[in-house]
Every structure is written in C-alpha cells, then in structure tokens.
C-alpha cells in the first residue's frame, strides 16, 4: 500500500535560468542515499577501552521527550538529582548527542521522528527505553496508534521499567548503561546497521506515510 508522496517530495520539472528544463527528484537530490555500515572500534583494544570509558563518562542525551517520561527527565537537571555530576548532560541537537532516551509510549507519528533523530546521531550511540510502554506497549498495548515494542524499530541498549520510573531509577539505569558501554556491549549502532533491512521493514510496516530516505544521515 504505497502512499503517494507529499507534493514537496514528488519529482518535478524545473526550468533553470538558462531556460533548460530538467527533473528534480527531492528524495534523491536532497538526501544522501548511503546506508549505514558497521563501524569498528580502534585497532588497539586498549584505545577502544579508553574511548569506551570516555563515552561512558560523557553521556550526552538528546533533548527529545515522548510520552509521560519526559516529565521524569527534568528533575535530573535539578539540584535534587543533578545528573551532571555523573557526566550526563543534554544536548539540543542529535548530531552532538550519543544517547537517545525514549521516554514512554511512542505513537507511530512520533516514531518517525524518533527514527530520524536516532539516525542523525553519530555512532556509537545508545538507546534507552523508559517505562513499560516501550517494552510491550504497557497500558496502550491494544492502541491502534502506538508501537508496542521499541526493540523492533531501533536497537535498545537498556530498558528502565516502571510506569513511570522515578528519576532515581533513571540515574540507576544510566549507571547500568555506563557499565554496558565500558564493557563494550553497547553496540546498538552496529546492530542497527547489520540488521538494517529488518529494522526498516518493521518501521515501514507501521509508518505508512514514509516520506524520507531509508537512512537519515
């Protein structure tokens, strides 16, 4: 059930200033079509371990809030919890973030944005699912409009359970994530590249108005 593209993405004939007409195909001309590849770490393990340590100590969370969990993220910045002291901070742009927190149920519409944001992050990058909704749909398990299992759509490194989990739980979860990273077990980005077709087909199954390239660089 291929949906027709939005007008701005459709192929069109454009006349150049010299009067010659040519075709513009936005999805091809505006977007990079390359697909992600598996990225290997540094050649020396010690270097990679060092980097992994640094990655763990410097978690930059993308400021992207979905569902009810977004409200639980805020207290982490406050004096009471002060996540900064653990090397955790928020970045406004996915380019600079390396941790995507899906903070609750994810409607299909938001999923598309989440995928885009995730793909625009640079690897290595990590995904943390917050609350039961990201695990199995939670109370929205039969909703027509939310996804049930985040893992089908992007490689989740860690789930933090609860509905919703408290900030303390989040801090604990991040500490666990750090351990995973230091251990070199948080290779979600490579997993995503390896099983790209599978992820894509899952994504496209729920997202009917797919109006972006397969991989958003």
């Amino acid at each position: 059930m291929e949906q027709e593209l939005k007008p701005e993405l459709q192929k069109r004939m454009v006349k150049g200033p010299d009067g010659v007409e040519f075709e513009v195909e936005p999805l091809r001309d505006y977007y990079c079509e390359a697909l992600p590849t598996v990225q290997h770490g540094a050649y020396f393990k010690i270097v990679e371990d060092f980097f992994n340590w640094a990655r763990a100590q410097s978690l930059w969370i993308l400021g992207f809030g979905t569902g009810c969990g977004a409200i639980e993220m805020r207290p982490l910045m406050t004096p009471r919890f002060d996540a900064y002291r653990y090397g955790i901070q928020w970045r406004p742009t996915p380019r600079q973030a390396n941790l995507l927190v899906i903070s609750g149920y994810l409607s299909v519409k938001t999923l598309k944005r989440a995928i885009r944001a995730y793909e625009q992050m640079q690897s290595p990058k990590y995904v943390v699912g917050l609350g039961s909704c990201t695990i199995n749909g939670g109370m929205y398990w039969d909703s027509y409009n939310t996804i049930k299992r985040l893992d089908d759509y992007m490689p989740v490194d860690l789930y933090i359970v609860g509905c919703m989990p408290r900030p303390e739980a989040l801090l604990a979860g991040f500490e666990d994530l750090k351990k995973l990273i230091r251990a070199g077990k948080a290779e979600g980005a490579n997993q995503y590249a390896e099983k790209f077709d599978w992820y894509k087909s899952n994504q496209k199954r729920v997202i009917h108005d797919w109006d972006m390239p397969d991989y958003n660089w």
């Binding site: 701005e8 454009v14 006349k15 200033p17 040519f22 977007y31 390359a34 996915p94 885009r116 660089w217």
Partner: protein, 1058 residues
C-alpha cells in the same frame, strides 16, 4: 568673391521665379529652391572661409550707390558670415527634410521658405534699424506661414492657432518696434545702426531721456522676438505644432539672427543696457529649463530648451562688459552649439512617429542616430569636446574673475536642470519600450536623416574648430586631438568589429598608453596610472565573454578610460576638468547600458555634473579671471578665497566618491550596470574622485572656513560615510547593491584617511585605493558572474552555489577576507596602517564612528558569501554552471594579486611611503626586512602568513585524518528538530538576514538623504509643472504676458537706470 547681397537677391529672385512655374512643375521648383539655398550657403561659406583664413576686416555693402547712413548698407564680417552660413545651411537641410511637404504644397510654400531664410540672413547682414524691422516682419510673416507646413500632414488646426497667436504677439511687438524706431530716429536723426551708436552717447538732457525710452521700446521688442520668459507661450505652441524641419529653422536660425540683432542693438544702447539683457536672459534660462522639466512632448521640450539656450546667450551678451573680446568666442560657441544641436534634434524628431519622449525609443537600433542624439545633448549640456564646453569654461572663469557669483551660480543651476531633462530623455531612448510604430523607413525620410547627419558632422567639425581656437587663445594643444580621446573616438568607427577584436584593441591601447607614459608619473600618480590603465585592461579581460558586436560599449568604456588617462596626466585646471568631464560622460554611457539602470544612470550623471559644475566654479574662483592655471598653484591661494575654492572642489570630488549625502546615485548605478561594467565603475572610476581629493589636499591642505577646519569636516564626512555605507550594505537583498553600498563605506574610509592629513593616513588611503580596486573588482565580477548564471541578483533566491561555482566562491571568499581586514590577507595591512594613522590624529570623535563601521563590514560580507554560496541550493539552480571563463580569469588574477600583496605589501607601499615623505616628513614607516614598523607598532606580514598558514594546515591535516571516513551528505541531511525541511526555498535563511540589527539600528538607515533629494527634485518638478500652467494656450493671455513683460522690465530696468 560674390557679394553677400546676393544671398538676399538670389533668394528673392528664386522666390519670384517660382511664381512663373506651373503649379505642376513641383520637382523643378523644389530643385530651384534647393539650388538657391545651396548658392546662398556657398556665398556665406566663401565669406566665412575668407574671413577665417585671412582675418580681413568686415566688408561693407552699399546700396543705392549712396554711402550710409543715407542709404541702407549691409555688412559682412566673420560673425555675419558664420551666422548666415548657419542660417542658410539650416534652411537648406531643413528644406531637404521637408521634401515631401514642400512638394505637396507647391511653389508658394517654397517661395515662403526661401524668403524666410533670406529674411533671417537679412537680419544678420543689415546695418539699418528700419531695415532690421522689415526683415523682422518678413521673418514673422514667413514664420507664421511656415508653421502651417505641419498642417498639411496633421490638419488639426493646431498649427493655425499657433500661427495666429504668433501674429497677435507680433502685432504688439511691431507696434513697439516702430514707435521705438521712429523716436530713436527723431532723437538721433539717423536710422543707421553705427551712426546711431555714434550719435546716442552725444545726446544730452531730454533728448537722451527720450532716446533711452525709444531704445527701450526697440530693445524690448527685439528681445521679445527671443521668446523671453514669460512672454513666450506663443513660441512654445509653435515649436509644438510646427513641422520639425521648420522648428529647426525657427530655433536655430531665427534664434541666432535675433540674438545677433540684439547684439547690434546693444552696440547702440551701450553698456548701460547690459544688465537688462543679462537679467532677462538669465531669468529666461533658468525659468525655461525649470518649466521644461515636466514636459512630455518632445518638440515642446525642445522648444523650452531653445528658449533657455537663447536666454543664456542673451545673458552672455549682457556680460559683454567683462567678457570683452571673448564675447564672440563664448556667445558664438554657445550659439553654434545650440543651433546645430537643436536643429539636429528637431530633424531627428521628424523621424519619430509619436510625440511622447518615450516614443524616441524608436531610435534604438539606429546606432548612428543615437550617436547623433548623444552628440547633440552633450553639445547642449556643454560637455567636452563641443564648443559649448569651451564657451562655458571661459564664461564661468570670466564671471568668477569679476565676482559675478550669483549669475555664475544661476547659469550652472540652469545648465544642470537642462542636463537633467536631456539625459533623462536619453535614458528613455535607451531603455524604454520601443513603440510598436518604429521609425519610418529611414530611406523614406532620407532628407531628415541626411540633415541630422550633416548636423552631426557639423557638431564634430565645430568642436575641432573650437578646440583649435581655444588652442590659439590659451596656447595649448587641441583637446580633441589628444591621443586617448582620439583612440576612444576611433572605436566609434570600429564598432562594426566583433567584440574580441575590439576588446583586444582596447586592452592593447590601455597597455600601450601606459607604456608610453609610465615614465612621467611620480609614485603617487603611478598607483592611479596602474589602477586606471593596467587595472582597466585586467577588468577588460572579463569583456571577452561577450559575443557579437556589443555596439556602443567600447566607445563609452574607452571614453571613460581616456578621461582617466588624461586625468592623471593633467597638470593644469583645464586639462583636469576636461578629463573629468570625459570620464563622467563615458562612465554614464557605460552605466546606462545596464538593463534597469535608467533612473540610476540619470541620477549618476546629474550628481556628477552637479559635482563637475562645483569643480568648475572652484577652478574659476581660484584663477580669478585667468583662463586656467597650474594645479600646483592651488597652493598659493590665500584666505578669503581659498576655503571657498577648497569647499567647492572638495564637494565636487566627493560627489564622485559618493560621500554621505551625495551617495544616493551610487548603489543603483553600480548595481544595475553590466557584469563587467560594475568593476570598472566601482573598482576604477571611484578612484578618480579620490585622485581629485588627493590633488586638492596635496596643494591646499588645511583650510579654515569661518572657524571650521574643513579637514575636520571631511573627517566627519568620511567617518559618517563609512558608517552609513556599511550599515546600509547589511540590509540589502541585492548582491550588487550590497557591494555598491560597501564601496560607499570603503570610500568613506579612504576619505577619512586623506582627511587625517598625516603620513599614515595617506598611506592608508592609498592602500585602500589599491585594495579596493582589487577586491571590489573581484567581488563585482564574481557576484556578476553568479548573477549572470542565475539570472537574479536577489541573494535570498540564490544559495548553495559553492559546489557549482567553486572558483567564484574562492574569489568571493578571498575577497571578503581581504575586505574585512582580517589577517593574513592584504586588507589587514590597510587596517593596521589605519589604526596607526588615527593614533596621531587629534579629532577623536569621528574615529568612534569609524570604529563602529568596522565590525559592521563583517555583517554584510558574511551575508554576501553565505546567502549566495552557502546554505541551501534551489531547484532551479541545480544545473547552473561556473561563471564564464573570461569572467573567472580576472578574478583568479586578482586572487593572486591579493595573495602577493598580502605577503609583500612593500612592493608598492614602500615607494609610496618614501614619496609621501616629501609631503609629510614625519610618521613614516620603517621597512626593515619583512617587518614594518611605525611610530607605535609593528607588523610582519610574512611572519603572519607563515604562522597562520602553518597552524591552519596542521589543524586541517589533523581534522582530515580524524574525519577520513566522513560521510558526504546532501543539503537536506540536517537536523531539523526531528523533522525534515520543507523545500530549499523555505530552508535557506537569507531574506531580511539581519532582522535584529534592523530593529536596533534600523533608524539610522532611514532614507533621509534620498528623501531630501527626491523632495528637492519633486519640488523643482512641481514648481515647473505649476508654473507652466501659466501658459494657458490662449493667444490673448500670451498678449497679456507680453505686455506685462514689457511693463515689468520697464519698471525694473528703467526704474533703476540712472
């Protein structure tokens, strides 16, 4: 030698002979008419040749075998011969142009034509007062009849009405004339002009009083024939409704004859009547030009112009007391210029089907006719090399020498008005939509075309003659024969060649001229010579990209370059001014070539001419009567005069550098010019103004004007210009306009530097001269190339062109780094010298302004490069190619120059620095190895270049290494708050780029100056428009005007006379 009398007898005989022919033998009649006119012309030409070549005295022709004063006598001298030749030739050529009409109307019309021409010659020749009256009446009657020639084609009764109005007025005139003549006769007992002139001063008491009154009547009657303001509505109606070929005669010949009659009368009246002539003349000149402004009918406009010119010449005749023996040269120059130009224009008007000024766009596609038009309006505006220029030059000098400043000012003001409407008209021709009804078949209008071309030839011949005369008078070389000018004019003849040939010739010419003259320049002039000549040829490289013939480009461009070349070689005021005018005119034509440049070219030429007039006035004031002076002598001027001269010259030069307040012409002119013209007018031409300022400041230096140090005023102006120019630049959407405003700012810096009047200030100004040439030429070229490829100059419509036009991008990048003065490129040298320079200056407040101006430059420069080359590429430009090779090539050369100058600024600056030591011995720079040291600081361009280069390359290499696997992405691969951009147009942030700045400082960019000037022009225009309603078209009202004129002149003139 055939007696001049036969001019009259031949015409009469032929006129009577025509009556013997059958009505049907029209061809024969026409042939006789032409032959007779040719014979008349030949007679006058013979006399003219005799007088001109042998210099013999005037010849008297007696009639009735009796000596004057008892019988009528005629006289032919140099002036008479010239005037009769003019009249007869105009008659002949007009008859040619009238061929259809004359053939249709038959022998009677031809007879009237012959009589009209004869009567005009009679007015010139006769020395008898009453005979003068008879010839005047003949002229009047013949003219009234000839007005109807147009009735033949149009048949709408307008000409009839005009003729009737003329007759009404002429009735009044002839009544005054007759009464005047008879009472003058009664008082002096003679009718002979010379006899009366001899007798009049001897009269005493009541007789003198009575004679004065009688003479007043004669004088006012003859002056009324000159169509003085306001008693001239009838004449305008005639000009509008008559056949253009007749109008040519009416304007050129009748005007000339009547003026000569006034001249004769003034011989009788003596000096006491001169002020009255001047007053009437100058009022007419200014008023008619003012009234001409709102005209839309071409022939009426020309009519106003004719009236104005006649007024000017009348005013000149009125200045005979101070002009002395120069009167003939001046008045003759003006008169012949006016006559030939006006006749030519009227003949041209015969080729145009409709009467609106815009309809003249039909001339487009007829280069020769356009050249004729240009020559004519240049002649009327008194531009070199035409006789009017010499005349104006001498006139203004003599007036200034005598301190008649008000008159001088009025003449220049009127001339500016006139130039205004003439050049506006030219703009219409070049730029307006050509009417569907194009010029009639040129072959069909052979007569008019031939006449026009004859006038064109006469115009140039006259300029040669006047140049020669000027040569004799001031002992100098004929300006028209100056090599650069001839070279430029030669391109008129070569215009049929393809572009690449002409371009090669032009470049070769510039280089050759540089080679010929380079030994003459001191280092200061050398800089300008290199920029004007070498730089000019570099810029010309870009012109290779044009194909076809590019008619008109090369004559204009080379005219400008000729002016520039002559400017730097000029050592006296005359040469300097000539060069100045030439480069102004040449650049005007260049600018006008742009697609939408009509209004901007107009404001350019108006500001430039205004400035030129100020310069002229300044020179004239400075010489105190001498025809010209060595520019170096400016230094010898002393207090009461010097500041005025300084002020006039400085303002004049600052119109060219577009100082604030006088800058509004620049953005449009530079932005709308063609791709390769913009760098010429911006990179090269602007320097002419700076050169002028340099010459001025070198000689005159500091001047105190009522307690104001003028240099300080200039400092303020420079700073304000820099600030406002830069500020305005950041708000431009049009790339070339942005660059143009940036030029204003840069010129502000240079002016500021000059006004500092110290060693480093000048060095900085010269550095700016060089740098501005290089980077502004480069930027204009690259932006022009982009505009050429994309078809727009609106920056917000471009974007992301970096990958498509990488070379243009590089040029722009280097350019903006250089402009902004960021190390390590050459712009920094300028800034460094600048800061050192202002440390020594006393005036600190203007510095603050210029400080503010500095960082603002970054704003517009970034905007320029970002909105064009970076950001989002638009759909329609996805296939745009790099700018043409020939546009890119000079840019790359400029890039190379910039880099070289950045590393070794000493290449040029050292010599200038050393040269400046002559003028400012203190505060020079010390050149030691690669380090340049000033009184305050030091600077090592080579070291900077190396350090920055090494750091830069190291980091670049490191980043490349780290990012060796970076994925190249496309334009929409940007983070967009987890969304995707809609379209490139909506994603490219470019329009109203500096919105917050506008909120904070936008009030500084209110178009106050534009508002001021447009209010001024609107006021003038409205004044003209309201005042012209005074010509109601009712013949009776015109009679009122005439009587009122007589009464008012009587009250004013006779009231104050002793």
């Amino acid at each position: 030698m055939v007696s001049a009398l036969h001019i009259i007898t031949a015409a009469l005989a032929a006129a009577f002979l025509l009556g013997l022919l059958k009505e049907q033998q029209r061809g024969l009649a026409y042939g006789i008419t032409l032959l007779t006119l040719a014979l008349m012309s030949w007679i006058s030409a013979g006399w003219l040749w005799t007088f001109a070549s042998t210099g013999t005295a005037a010849v008297e022709i007696f009639t009735a075998g009796t000596e004057p004063p008892f019988a009528i006598n005629l006289r032919i001298g140099l002036a008479e011969a010239a005037l009769t030749l003019l009249i007869n030739l105009v008659g002949l050529l007009s008859a040619l142009a009238l061929k259809d009409t004359l053939l249709a109307l038959g022998r009677r019309a031809m007879a009237v034509w012959l009589v009209a021409v004869m009567a005009l010659s009679g007015i010139v020749l006769t020395r008898d007062l009453f005979n003068l009256f008879v010839f005047f009446e003949l002229t009047v009657i013949a003219s009234a009849g000839l007005v109807l020639l147009s009735e033949h084609a149009k048949n709408d009764g307008q000409a009839l009405a005009a003729g009737f109005k003329y007759l009404i007025v002429s009735q009044f005139i002839s009544a005054f004339l007759l009464i005047g003549i008879i009472f003058a006769y009664h008082a002096t007992g003679t009718l002979n002009i010379d006899d009366m002139a001899a007798a009049a001063p001897l009269l005493g008491g009541g007789a003198a009083q009575a004679f004065a009154l009688a003479f007043f009547l004669i004088f006012i009657a003859v002056v009324a024939e000159l169509k003085p303001f306001p008693a001239n509505g009838w004449a305008l109606d005639i000009y509008e409704s008559a056949h253009p070929a007749f109008s040519a005669l009416f304007s050129a010949a009748t005007g000339a004859a009547a003026l000569f009659a006034v001249d004769k009368l003034l011989l009788i009246g003596g000096d006491a009547w001169l002020p009255m002539a001047t007053g009437i003349g100058i009022v007419t000149f200014v008023a008619a030009n003012l009234l001409a402004l709102p005209q839309t009918n071409d022939r009426r406009l020309l009519g106003y112009s004719s009236i104005a010119q006649t007024g000017l010449i009348l005013a000149v005749l009125g200045q005979r007391d101070i002009l002395g023996e120069h009167t003939l040269y001046i008045a003759g120059g003006l008169l012949l210029s006016h006559a030939i130009a006006k006749a030519g224009l009227y003949w041209l008007s015969g080729l145009i089907a409709e009467r609106g000024l815009e309809a003249w766009a039909a001339l487009r596609g007829q280069p020769l006719l356009i050249f004729a038009f240009v020559s004519f309006i240049s002649m009327l505006s008194g531009l070199p090399p035409f006789p009017g220029f010499y005349a104006k030059w001498e006139l203004i000098h003599l007036l200034a020498g005598e301190g008649r400043i008000v008159l001088l000012g009025l003449i220049l003001f009127g001339a500016l008005l006139e130039a205004g409407y003439l050049f506006r008209w030219f703009g219409y021709i070049m730029k307006r939509e050509a009417p569907t009804e194009v010029v009639d078949n040129v072959a069909h209008k052979f007569g008019a075309v031939f006449a026009t071309l004859a006038a064109l030839a006469a115009a140039w011949a006259l300029s040669l003659v006047w140049g020669e005369l000027a040569g004799l008078q001031f002992d100098r070389f004929n300006m028209l024969l100056a090599l650069p000018l001839l070279f430029a004019l030669a391109f008129l003849l070569l215009d049929w060649l393809p572009v690449w040939v002409k371009n090669s010739l032009a470049i070769a010419g510039l280089l050759a001229w540089f080679y010929l003259t380079y030994t003459e320049y001191d280092p200061l002039r050398m800089i300008f010579a290199v920029i004007f000549l070498i730089g000019g040829s570099l810029t010309l490289l870009a012109s290779y990209h044009e194909h076809g013939r590019r008619i008109g480009f090369y004559p204009s461009a080379m005219l400008m370059f000729a002016g520039l070349a002559m400017l730097i070689r000029a050592t006296d005021s005359f040469d300097f001014f000539v060069a100045w005018e030439l480069l102004t005119v040449g650049s005007y034509f260049l600018i006008l070539r742009g697609k939408h440049s009509e209004p901007h070219a107009l404001s350019y030429i108006l500001f430039s001419l205004g400035g030129a007039f100020l310069i002229l006035a300044g020179f004239a004031l400075a010489t105190q009567g001498a025809p010209y002076f060595d520019l170096a002598a400016l230094a010898d001027l002393v207090q009461p005069l010097a500041p005025w001269v300084f002020l006039l010259l400085a303002i004049g030069f600052m119109t060219k550098t577009a100082a604030i307040g006088l800058h509004i012409w620049l953005p449009g002119a530079h932005a709308e010019a063609e791709t390769d013209v913009s760098p010429m007018v911006s990179g090269i031409l602007l320097k002419a103004g700076l050169y002028g300022l340099i010459v001025l400041l070198l000689t005159m230096g500091r001047q105190d004007f009522y307690g104001v140090e003028l240099i300080n005023a200039m400092l303020w102006i420079g700073a304000l210009t820099a600030l406002i120019g830069n500020l305005l630049a950041i708000f431009q959407e049009d790339a070339k306009r942005l660059l143009a405003y940036s030029s204003i700012g840069q010129m502000g810096y240079a002016m500021f530097g000059l006004a500092l009047m110290n060693h480093l200030g000048w060095l900085m100004a010269l550095m700016f001269v060089i740098n501005h040439y290089v980077y502004k030429s480069m930027l204009f070229l690259s932006v022009g190339g982009v505009a050429k490829r994309t078809g727009t100059r609106q920056m917000y419509r471009m974007g992301g062109l970096i990958t498509l036009m990488p070379l243009s991008f590089i040029a722009t990048l280097i350019g903006i780094i250089a402009v902004s003065g960021v190390p390590p490129l050459s712009g920094f040298g300028g800034r460094w010298i600048f800061y050192n320079a202002i440390l020594t200056a006393e005036a600190r407040l203007p510095m603050i302004l210029i400080f503010l101006a500095g960082p603002i430059a970054f704003l517009y420069l970034f905007r320029l490069i970002y909105t064009i080359f970076l950001g989002q590429l638009k759909d329609e430009f996805r296939r745009v190619k790099e700018a043409p090779f020939w546009i890119v090539l000079p840019q790359m050369i400029y890039v190379a120059i910039l880099l070289v100058v950045a590393v070794v600024p000493g290449l040029v600056l050292r010599h200038v620095d050393a040269y400046l030591n002559h003028f400012f011995p203190n505060g020079g720079l010390i050149w030691e190895g690669t380090t340049i040291t000033s009184q305050f600081g030091y600077w090592n361009p080579v070291a900077i270049m190396i350090i920055v280069g090494v750091i830069f390359m190291t980091l670049f290499a490191w980043l490349l290494f780290v990012n060796r696997r970076a994925q190249k992405v496309k334009q929409f691969n940007i983070v967009f708050s987890a969304e995707r951009p809609f379209r490139p147009e909506t994603t490219h942030f470019a329009w109203n780029f500096f919105a917050p700045y506008r909120k904070a400082l936008g009030f500084l960019t209110l178009p106050l100056v534009t508002l001021f000037w447009s209010t001024m022009t609107d006021l003038l225009h409205t004044a003209g428009d309201l005042a012209r309603r005074f010509y109601t078209g009712n013949g009776q009202t015109y009679a009122f005007h005439l009587l009122a004129f007589v009464v008012i002149v009587y009250l004013f003139g006779m009231g104050v006379r002793p």
